[in-house]
């Protein structure tokens, strides 16, 4: 027969753990899907794990290459990333940076990591771009 002590401690731990289970859905960011699956034809791009860990290094390297040297390949171009990783919000509009439905925000909001890319860069695709992709 179980002792009173065991019963109480079991009950306690269950009670304590309940909120944790209830929040399990919030423990991972909900990241919107890209428009194209990663494959060599769409040039997109690298291994997911690699990108999660190193995307900032790749785009940092590319920004200097593009601005200072004029290298405008699609690989690691911010405009290309955004054009593929674009998603709509609940209103059916393209989500702006800051909105948790925006690809970058979905994780950056969760991780509380501030970025200032979109102070200057367009956070949504526009048909105006000659160098970036045109998204309809």
């Amino acid at each position: 027969m179980l002792s009173h002590k065991t019963i109480i401690s079991t009950l306690l731990s269950v009670l304590l753990l309940l909120p944790v289970f209830a929040q399990a859905g919030d423990l991972m960011p909900v990241v919107p899907k890209a428009k194209a699956k990663a494959n060599p034809d769409t040039l997109c791009i690298r291994d997911v794990k690699d990108m999660r860990k190193n995307h900032m290094k790749y785009i940092l390297h590319k920004r200097d290459k593009t601005l200072r040297e004029g290298v405008r390949t699609k690989q690691d171009s911010l405009a290309e990333c955004i054009s593929c990783h674009i998603s709509k919000n609940d209103k059916g509009e393209y989500a702006s940076f800051g909105d948790s439905k925006h690809f970058c925000s979905s994780c950056h909001n969760f991780a509380a990591v501030n970025i200032d890319c979109f102070d200057c860069h367009n956070d949504k695709p526009t048909a105006a771009s000659k160098t970036g992709s045109t998204i309809k």
């Binding site: 601005l67 290298v71 405008r72 390949t73 200057c120 771009s129």
Partner: protein
């Protein structure tokens, strides 16, 4: 989104292409089939960096420039998303907002002769803005185009003070709806990029295109280091002055008829 003011090919552009075509064909005869002589072509592939084999420049004929015409200014605004078309600086006065290119009126007090010309970053070979920049954000590409690397610009505005042509602007407020190819934002300085995104894809700056479309043909764009380019030929035949030549900055933008 609207297209840039027009898409007509400029004479410079056509000239360059014809020139390209002819030389490429001539070179093709001498080469084994399948070989490409990359030195010949102006167009470089996207993965090749800008090179010091080129120096991009503009030539402006003030006699052809229309008084009251602002086609180049509007085209620049449309292309790069500043001015009237970007309304997201509500607290700034018109005089505080960015100006990449403006029309300047010159009047000779003795004769009363009035001239009109567009003024923008002169893409100096020895740019004072680059000299004074404490961060390395003001920089000159190998092909002579002077840019601000907004990634590292701290907005100190030293470059604005140093520029003899008042070519640079500071952005005071958060912006929205920037062009994808022309990122710009609060706390950084900016100026004419000579439409570097177009130059990199063998295009012509929006202002030159617009001027030609208006029928003024007052602007040439091209490679100052290529003695056969339309701009070099025109400079050789008819000359072209630098503004404030006394400063010895060797500007990439030249003027005729001053």
């Amino acid at each position: 989104m609207t297209q840039p003011v027009n898409n007509k090919e400029t004479t410079t552009d056509i000239y360059r292409r014809q020139f390209l075509g002819k030389t490429a064909a001539a070179a093709g005869l001498a080469l084994a089939p399948g070989m490409i002589l990359t030195e010949v072509a102006h167009a470089r592939s996207a993965d090749q960096p800008a090179s010091d084999k080129n120096r991009w420049g503009l030539l402006i004929n003030t006699n052809k420039c229309g008084t009251g015409c602002t086609a180049c200014v509007s085209a620049c605004q449309t292309e790069n998303g500043w001015g009237e078309i970007n309304k997201s600086e509500p607290h700034s006065k018109a005089s505080q907002k960015a100006v990449w290119i403006r029309k300047v009126k010159l009047k000779d007090k003795l004769t009363g002769h009035v001239q009109s010309l567009p003024l923008m970053c002169q893409h100096c070979e020895h740019p004072p803005c680059v000299d004074v920049c404490p961060t390395g954000a003001s920089m000159k590409r190998k092909d002579g185009i002077v840019l601000v690397d907004k990634h590292i610009c701290i907005g100190c505005r030293y470059c604005m003070m140093a520029c003899p042509y008042k070519a640079r602007s500071f952005i005071h407020e958060a912006l929205e709806n920037q062009k994808v190819h022309a990122p710009r934002g609060k706390g950084t300085v900016e100026s004419c990029t000579m439409c570097v995104h177009r130059v990199d894809t063998d295009g012509t700056p929006a202002c030159v295109e617009a001027c030609n479309a208006e029928g003024h043909q007052a602007m040439y764009f091209g490679d100052l280091k290529d003695s056969n380019s339309a701009i070099s030929v025109e400079l050789r035949n008819n000359g072209g002055q630098q503004l404030r030549q006394d400063l010895a900055l060797n500007t990439g933008v030249r003027y005729q008829g001053l």
